[in-house]
Every structure is written in C-alpha cells, then in structure tokens.
C-alpha cells in the first residue's frame, strides 16, 4: 500500500483525536492511567529520536527526565512557580543538561557512550541524594496544590490533567513527525545508517548527534516536568537507572525508529505491568524477561516488524 503525506498526517492526527475521545469512554481511574502513559510516551518519543533514529544508545536518560521533574518541582516548591512556567523550565533544564552531557559523551561511541551516559546519570542521582535536604532524596516531595494550576485550571482534577497530558503528547508527536519528515530528520537516520558516508557528504556527525541528543533531552525534560505538575510528585527514584531502561524498553517493544512505536510500547508495557501486579509483586521480572525476549526474537519491535512486512510507508 502506498500512502501520501496527507494520509500519514491523517493517521497520526487521528490517533490524537481518538485519545481525546477516550475521556468520554473510560472510567476516571483509567483516564489517569492513560495520562500517565501519554507522559511516559513523550519520554520514550524523545528517547526514540536519539536511539531509534540517530542510533545513540544512551543509558542515562533518567538524568534528563529528573532534570525536568526537579526544575518544575523545585521552582514550584521554592518560588511558587505555577505549572505553565514550570513546564517550560523543565523542558529547558532537560535540553540544557542533555547538551552538556552530549558535548562530552558524544566524543565516544557504542559501548563507551552507553557507559559514559550511565555514569553521568548515576552521578546525577547521587547528587540528588547528596542534597537530600532540598530534593527530598529517595522519598521526594509532593508539590503544593497552589502550584499545580495551568491557565486557571486545577491539574489535580481528572479532566484538566488528562487534557494537559494529551496536549503535551500531541505537541511531542506532531513535532517528532515533522522532524523525521524534514531534511534534518533524514540526516539523523543517515548518522545511524552510515556515519562515515554522511561525513563524506559534508555533514558534521558531532553537531547532528548533539542536536539529536539535545532534542531528546527537551522531550525527556518535558515529560519529567509534566509528571511533576500533573501527578504532584518529584523524587530521586526517578533518576535511577531503571528510568533510563524504561524508555528503552518502550521503544524496543513498540519499534525503534517508528513515530508511533514509543506510544504503543508505553501503552502495552503499562497494561502488561498493570495485569502482572494484580497477579504477583514480581513485575520487574516481567520487565527483564521482556527485554531479553525483545532483543532475542523481535529486535525491530512491533511497528518495526509491521513496517517491514506490510506498511513500508510507516514513518
């Protein structure tokens, strides 16, 4: 099947419309869960820009997520900043930290890059613990209700929270689709496929990869800040290695290098874990088994396989 640009936009905008419609169909409990999934999907979309499209396998994205979370959370806590400016601060914090880490870490590649990003994230986590008096350490802190308002709406109530999450998700999805369909998006893929050849064509791999990682950090910061203002909590546990692994798992499951893969992966994994926690407390076992099974049997993920077999047009 062939698909034109209009058709591709129709599919993606259709998903956003369908998600908007969900608020009339689902119970409040499930609406909150869907809001969580959308925020996690934003995190995973950012991870996908770096890993799926540009081929940068980072193990340190929790650092950028936590940067956004604490930028929004601490500015609310200390200076009474509300959700809107908090979100912007979070996005900037994530992007700036990613750019700073990228300046150093992108001098390495492959396994070294993974370990360097892991070490930076670990240092960030330990720093949060070290300044536990301010950050609340592992226990974290809850945001005051006054700071959780956006344009006059109270984000601790179901509908505004869901709509705010949907808005962040929609902007993220549309932006990543626009990036990937642009010439810049093609250079990202070129870096993944053959760095030497793209260098020969006149692109500077370092700046392209730095731009990709920074973009990825902006997404992670947005997701972290959204989590803080929507769910009213910030804590150092979100900076642990586990939160670097989760977006990787979502992306691998949904399909690395596909626009909708991160959302699909986050949705499926969330539902799976939800079902598993009903049966057993050992849900981390499931995460581990899913990782192993994915790299063994489905390295392309769900949408990657769909694209390979049936829908070549899938962006």
């Amino acid at each position: 099947m062939k698909m034109g640009a209009a058709g591709i936009w129709f599919v993606h905008l259709g998903l956003i419309a369908a998600l908007f419609g969900m608020q009339f169909l689902l119970s409040p409990y499930h609406i909150t869960n869907l809001a969580r999934i959308m925020v996690l999907a934003v995190f995973a979309m950012g991870y996908n820009l770096a890993f799926g499209y540009t081929g940068l396998l980072s193990l340190g994205h929790a650092l950028f997520f936590a940067a956004g979370m604490y930028a929004a959370g601490l500015s609310a806590q200390l200076w009474g900043v509300t959700a809107g400016p908090g979100l912007i601060l979070g996005i900037l914090a994530g992007g700036m930290l990613a750019a700073a880490v990228g300046l150093l870490a992108l001098r390495t590649a492959g396994v070294s890059f993974m370990i360097v990003t892991l070490m930076f994230a670990q240092a960030g986590y330990l720093t949060l613990l070290y300044f536990g008096a301010v950050t609340g350490g592992d226990e974290g802190f809850t945001l005051s209700p006054a700071s959780r308002s956006l344009l006059g709406y109270d984000l601790s109530t179901d509908t505004p929270r869901f709509l705010a999450a949907l808005a962040v998700f929609a902007v993220g999805l549309i932006l990543s689709l626009a990036i990937i369909r642009s010439p810049f998006g093609r250079t990202l893929v070129a870096m993944r496929e053959n760095e030497d050849r793209s260098r020969m064509l006149g692109y500077n791999p370092f700046t392209v990869k730095l731009a990709a990682l920074t973009l990825s950090g902006l997404y992670a910061g947005a997701a972290g800040a959204a989590w803080a203002v929507l769910f009213g909590y910030a804590g150092a546990s979100f900076a642990t290695i586990q939160y670097s692994i989760l977006p990787m798992l979502y992306v691998l499951l949904g399909g690395a290098g596909t626009i909708l893969g991160p959302f699909l992966g986050a949705l499926l994994m969330f539902v799976l874990i939800e079902i598993a926690t009903g049966l057993t407390s050992a849900y981390l076992f499931l995460v581990g088994a899913a990782l192993v099974a994915l790299v063994l049997f489905a390295p392309n993920g769900i949408l990657g396989t769909v694209r390979e077999r049936w829908a070549r047009w899938l962006p």
């Binding site: 001098r107 330990l126 070290y130 050992a282 581990g288």
Partner: protein, 292 residues
C-alpha cells in the same frame, strides 16, 4: 583514637574492599577482554554468591567452618552453571553483538534480582564466619576473618593468573581474545571458550560474594555497588587487562576505605563516577582497548 591508628584502620578496611573488588572486577574484566561483552548482570552474580552462601550454611549441619567451606565450593559452581546457561540460551544467539548483549544482560539483572527477592525475601541475613579469632593491635581489635579474606583473594587471583598464563586453556582463551575468527580457523571451539569464560567470570563474582557475606549481610540489592565499583575499576585499569584491573582495584579499594571514613561516601561515589566518565571521554584509547 589518634589519627595514626585511625588511618591504619581505614587502610586495613580498604584492603578488604580492594580484595573483594579485585575478585569481582577480574571476572568482569575477563568477560569483557575475551568476549567483548559488557556484563551488566555481573553484580547479580555477586549477590547470588552471597545469597547461596547463606542458603548453604543454613542447610549444612555441623561447625560453621564446614558449612562455610561447602558454601565456598557450591555457590560459585551453581552461579557458574547459571551463567553458562545464560550464555548458551541468550548471549550466543545474539552473536555477542555489544549493544544487544548489554540490553539482554540488563534484562538478566532484573530477572535475577526479582527472583532473589521472591525466593529469598527482602531481609538481610548474616552468615557466621568460619572461625572466631581477633587480631589484637595496641589500638583496636580486628577480625581475623578479614585477614583471611585478603589472603584468600590473593590466592585465587594468583591461581587465575597462573591459569591464564601457564595453562593450555588459558592460552586458548587468550588466543580467542586476540582474534576470534583466526582462533576458530585453528580449530578452537570458540563457543565453548565463550561459555567457559562467562561461567568463570560469574564464578569469580560469586566467590567474592561468598567471601564478603560474613562481613556484610546477604541482601537481594547488594549487587549494585560492586557492579558500579567493578566498572570503575575495570575502566580505570583498562578493560580486559588483568594486571591493570588489580592495580586499579587496590587504588579504588584503598581510597574508598579512606575517603569513606573521612568524608561522605556519597560524595566519594559522585567524584568516582564522574572521574570514570571523564577517563572514558578523554582517554578511551588507552583505557578501553584499541577502539570500542
């Protein structure tokens, strides 16, 4: 206590850390050197060693020395068998692709940790030291068992060194490390070498876990710190080089003992992790093999 004896105590505690670390890190270095696999689940093999030591000592009757000797033998063997199975079932099928194996060993880490939590429980349990003997110094008393840990680690590392440089199996492992396909062309069963190496690396981590458990209780989350420290040691020492690993273990273990005693351990860890990141960024060629 005066400053001098205090420093001596810090140095002695640091030596114990260094001994344990050298064992665990040499396993990690061996696996990376020969197989080019970064084993993120290495810390969990260490934890399994400690937990299995507790299990063995709980079920073997008789004096603590006998139970501990049994644990020293059984736990590393069981862990090595598990690692060999993981190699055959997972890593081999990934064709030892560096990035895929890291993802897979992360998965393995979660599975082992969760299995330990489910089967062993969230509590920390002590294991009795094989003998009660205290070294009485003029300023403080010190557990003789800790001296035994240092000596045992030295003995094992010497044996490992002899194995790698003097035995035929060690020669085959080194040949595989240098060039996998040429080794295969000379009739070396590379798959078996890899399985053996992975098992040996895991066994060394488990042995470190067994040795540490009378000093530090067995807990299902105890693998995190040694993993991080082993990474640090192996990177500072040059991945794959056993001699570099040993020197770095001594350095990190001693400074950990001293810094941990005089400053905040969290601050020490922050500095150490950042240092390692910088080493990798600015001196990757010297410390990370030819080209990673």
């Amino acid at each position: 206590m005066a400053f001098g004896p205090f420093l001596l105590l810090a140095l002695m505690e640091g030596l114990v850390t260094a001994a344990i670390l050298a064992l665990a890190a040499s396993g990690l270095a061996l696996v990376f050197g020969v197989m080019r696999v970064v084993n993120v689940a290495h810390g969990e093999f260490y934890m399994l060693g400690a937990v299995l030591a507790w299990a063995v000592s709980a079920f073997v009757p008789g004096p603590p020395a006998l139970a501990f000797a049994a644990a020293l033998l059984i736990a590393p063997l069981l862990v090595a068998a598990l690692a060999a199975a993981a190699d055959g079932l997972i890593l081999k099928r990934l064709n030892y692709d560096p990035e895929a194996t890291i993802v897979a060993t992360i998965g393995l880490l979660y599975m082992i940790q969760q299995a330990a939590l489910s089967l062993y429980g969230p509590n920390a349990n002590p294991v009795q030291a094989p003998f009660e003997w205290r070294i009485q110094l003029p300023w403080f008393g010190w557990s003789g068992y800790k001296l035994f840990v240092i000596l045992a680690a030295c003995a094992v590392l010497l044996a490992l060194w002899a194995f790698m440089t003097r035995s035929r199996a060690g020669l085959i492992m080194r040949a595989t490390q240098v060039d996998r396909s040429t080794a295969r062309a000379f009739g070396i069963n590379v798959d078996r070498v890899y399985m053996g190496t992975f098992a040996l690396g895991a066994g060394l981590a488990a042995l470190a876990g067994v040795l540490v458990v009378p000093v530090q209780q067995a807990h299902y989350l105890m693998g995190g710190d040694p993993l991080l420290l082993s990474f640090i040691v192996v990177i500072i020492g040059g991945l794959g080089s056993l001699r570099g690993t040993l020197i770095a273990a001594l350095l990190i273990g001693l400074s950990d003992g001293i810094i941990g005693m005089f400053f905040s351990p969290t601050l020490a860890k922050i500095i150490a992790t950042l240092l390692v990141a910088m080493v990798l960024v600015f001196r990757p060629q010297g410390l990370f093999g030819a080209k990673a």
